[in-house]
């Protein structure tokens, strides 16, 4: 084999919020940590989060983590695991205060405490009226958070491996994970990163859709690695469409715009959300708002000459509020939509945004999969946190601001679990002989592929298929066709080829390797969606319009091997409080 091997206590893949929060905790415990990131850490996609991080600090109005928990359970359309949700909502204030102590430049209230704004689906008194729960740094909360976490990591000397791409996890015959095989992008060098614990924090995969708010780097690398290693992906049919992506460009416009008082208009200038969600109106949860917008457009009430978008009005907030609270939004609207929101509304459409599904994990960050002992046997040595993990706190639909919270809470809890596990199990297992066979075979195939399919074309086709057959509204027959189509695309991806064979910073090779991961996510999403014959959260089927708790109150598990599906129960029982029983979801 002969590959160089580097050994660490913990190997973290991904330098976004979850990866860096975990690295910080581990480095502070004096462990040897390697954090691998495809890009310089502050370029990770956490940087693009805008609106805020949810925590029931109650700095402005009375708030309570029980209410936050209720909102999250309800927002998830009851598919979320209530133990994990309780854990997250209870821990929220603590992790936010911690972040403030690291130096996060939160906006402030006159008395010096953290500023909070209303956000979709976050309510007082178990869903009664909107509450100010989103802790914000203008409309750059993710940017401020990611830089703060990077800075905090510098302080404790975390070891970063920047512009290293993890290719595959190393799993031995007992199913234990012993590290990852990674490539240094600058040189093309392949190295085995051996770790007693491996944490995947590789983020989302919005790039499976044609129109997405996601960065180019969001290619589901962790999910691809896990799927190839024979582990399942959970709840992949639930993909969130954010109501307000800039029409044509896809760039995100934060829900914080509506939190600050903006609202949506159809072509008649009607504030249509009053019809769909009489109570929460424009601050209903994202699936509800996106569907309402798509319905308006479908029924011919969209704005513009093609009646194909909706208008987001915020000029009534005044330039003072816009410049202070939403300066980045103004910049984006001017650059990408050619409108100045101080005067005109921003044209928006629902845009693929967040993957609720992911690598099945529990709230300790341990990856779990069906095994001899039950549906949730811990995969030893492997952890996952952030968007790539499905804990599942977001269930069928995530609430805004719960993702930044998710990565703080579960980044930290995964690290704490790792610290604990390392104490109990301090010895390294030997690497199997075939440790790097899979990634080396993938690289060798790319090297020798004759007349390969062009990566860009296959990617474009994948995105088109996903958008057309698996969008906001889903139809049984279209999904069936979609499954066939995406399998065809996957077959093409199997013999992708690149023209550039050089070793030095070969981005063509990186994109081909990313396609391998994207296609697993696309397959999982389409196949899981086709199978789920109900409507729940972000998954809306025209042919099965109701939620079906009797048959479908369960998590989907998709396996790459044979595109097999399996299911496991939802954790209906919280840790300490009474369970929230499913009921009809109205906002």
């Amino acid at each position: 084999m002969g590959l160089p091997v580097r050994t660490f206590d913990a190997v973290i893949v991904g330098g976004g919020g979850a990866g860096m929060r975990a690295a910080l905790e581990l480095a502070r415990a004096d462990l040897r940590v390697a954090l691998l990131s495809k890009v310089f850490p502050t370029r990770s996609h956490t940087v693009a989060a805008q609106g805020g991080v949810a925590a029931s600090l109650g700095n402005i109005e009375k708030d309570d983590w029980h209410w936050h928990m209720y909102d999250t359970v309800k927002g998830a359309d009851y598919l979320g695991d209530q133990d994990a949700i309780e854990f997250m909502c209870r821990t929220a204030p603590e992790v936010v205060y911690e972040l403030e102590h690291f130096g996060m430049p939160f906006d402030r209230l006159p008395d010096g405490r953290i500023y909070q704004r209303p956000f979709g689906g976050h309510m007082q008194e178990y869903g009664r009226n909107p509450v100010q729960r989103a802790c914000a740094a203008a409309d750059r909360t993710g940017h401020a958070m990611l830089h703060t976490l990077y800075q905090a990591n510098l302080k404790v000397h975390t070891q970063f491996f920047i512009e290293w791409m993890a290719l595959d996890i190393v799993r031995d015959r007992d199913g234990e994970v012993l590290g990852v095989v990674a490539m240094e992008i600058e040189t093309g060098e392949i190295v085995i990163f051996r770790g007693r614990c491996t944490l995947l924090a590789t983020g989302g995969a919005g790039r499976i859709f044609a129109s997405s708010t996601n960065a180019f780097i969001n290619t589901g690398d962790g999910l691809g690695m896990v799927a190839r290693a024979g582990l399942p992906l959970q709840d992949m049919e639930f993909f969130q469409f954010h109501p307000t992506g800039v029409y044509g460009a896809g760039v995100l416009i934060t829900e914080g715009v509506r939190g600050e008082g903006g609202f949506l208009l159809n072509k008649n200038g009607e504030r249509f959300m009053e019809r769909y969600a009489p109570n929460a109106k424009d601050l209903a949860s994202r699936d509800v708002v996106s569907r309402a917008m798509a319905t308006e457009i479908k029924e011919g009430r969209g704005a513009g000459k093609d009646a194909d978008h909706i208008l987001l009005k915020l000029d009534h907030l005044g330039s003072e509020v816009i410049n202070r609270r939403l300066p980045g939004i103004r910049e984006i609207a001017i650059k990408f939509a050619n409108v100045d929101p101080v005067r005109e509304p921003i044209p928006v459409v629902p845009t693929a945004h967040y993957m609720m599904g992911g690598i099945p994990a529990n709230y300790h960050g341990q990856v779990v999969a069906p095994g001899a002992t039950g549906p949730e046997e811990v995969v030893r040595g492997l952890y996952a946190a952030g968007e790539c993990a499905c804990v599942s706190v977001h269930g069928a639909n995530r609430l805004g601001c719960n993702s930044l919270l998710d990565l703080l809470v579960f980044g930290r809890s995964a690290a704490r679990q790792i610290i604990d596990d390392l104490k109990r199990n301090p010895h390294l297992k030997p690497l199997p002989d075939d440790a790097a066979d899979r990634p080396l075979a993938r690289l060798a195939r790319l090297e020798t592929q004759k007349d390969g399919e062009r990566v860009a074309e296959v990617q474009a086709e994948m995105r088109r298929v996903m958008q057309a057959y698996c969008g906001v509204f889903r139809f049984g027959d279209l999904l069936k066709q979609g499954v066939d189509k995406i399998k065809e695309v996957a077959a093409r991806a199997g013999h992708s080829g690149i023209g550039d064979k050089s070793k030095t910073f070969n981005t063509a090779r990186v994109e081909a390797l990313e396609l391998d991961n994207l296609i697993e996510v696309a397959l999982a999403t389409m196949i899981s969606a086709e199978a789920r014959t109900e409507s729940r959260g972000a998954h809306d089927r025209a042919d099965h319009h109701q939620r079906d708790d009797a048959n479908w109150m369960k998590h989907t598990l998709w396996y790459k091997q044979g595109n097999r599906l399996d299911y496991k129960p939802v954790h209906g029982k919280p840790l300490t409080v009474e369970a929230f029983e499913p009921k009809a979801r109205v906002y």
């Binding site: 403030e100 405490r113 800075q151 030095t504």
Partner: protein, 231 residues
């Protein structure tokens, strides 16, 4: 649309060359980054960094018609043809438009870009008035794209010793944060003819910053504090 793009692959090229591309852009290719991605679908050997494509991650800073900027928020409509694209000046080129940013980050790291506060943290947040928080505006928004530092002649001549506009902007971000307690150490760290005082207020940094930030003003504020401390 015509583009002249700097090409260099150390494995095959003795020296860099400018490659001419004439591509038909789609109506959806509005930003320069869209055009580069389009070119890459035709020639996958063209290498450049990119990520968020909305101007917040700082990956795709490059020299566009002689001026540093982010490709993703530079509209192609306003560019003079042929559009000449080069890597950021003053840093070693790894390949094509990709530069080695180690020196830049080393300078950023040298100012200790993290909050230093040795008091035990309170149970809740540390308090900070909105006015004090306002001080951080125009500072914390930096995306570390390096457009400013690589447009700064002082940084070109002394990248190893001069912190550069980006690093100094961040130095001031922590100096002025009311929660930080290391102001004096931070000032000591910069009281040097090279680290801070290579700034000759040329103001290229202000001119090119894609986020509209003003490093020169921050540098002025640091000098002001140094004077206050001395006299």
């Amino acid at each position: 649309m015509r583009f002249l793009i700097y090409r260099y692959n150390p494995e095959t090229d003795d020296k860099p060359r400018m490659q001419d591309y004439d591509v038909a852009l789609e109506p959806t290719d509005r930003m320069l980054l869209d055009a580069l991605v389009r070119i890459k679908t035709l020639d996958d050997t063209l290498s450049f960094r990119r990520s968020c494509r909305e101007g917040v991650c700082g990956s795709d800073a490059m020299n566009i018609n002689g001026r540093n900027g982010l490709a993703c928020i530079t509209s192609v409509a306003g560019l003079k043809e042929p559009v000449e694209i080069r890597p950021l000046p003053g840093l070693p080129v790894i390949r094509d438009l990709i530069v080695d940013m180690s020196q830049f980050f080393k300078q950023y790291h040298s100012i200790k870009p993290y909050l230093i506060n040795n008091d035990p943290p309170p149970e809740k947040e540390r308090l900070q008035s909105p006015e004090d928080r306002e001080e951080l505006n125009g500072l914390y928004e930096c995306i570390l794209c390096a457009a400013c530092s690589t447009a700064c002649p002082s940084f070109w001549w002394n990248p190893d010793k001069f912190v550069g506009p980006a690093g100094l902007l961040q130095a001031y971000r922590f100096i002025t944060d009311t929660r930080d307690q290391a102001t004096n150490e931070r000032l000591d760290n910069l009281e040097d003819p090279y680290r801070l005082f290579r700034c000759h207020t040329i103001m290229n940094c202000v001119e090119v910053c894609p986020k509209g930030l003003n490093p020169t003003r921050a540098i002025g504020k640091i000098k002001e504090l140094l004077v206050k401390r001395t006299v």
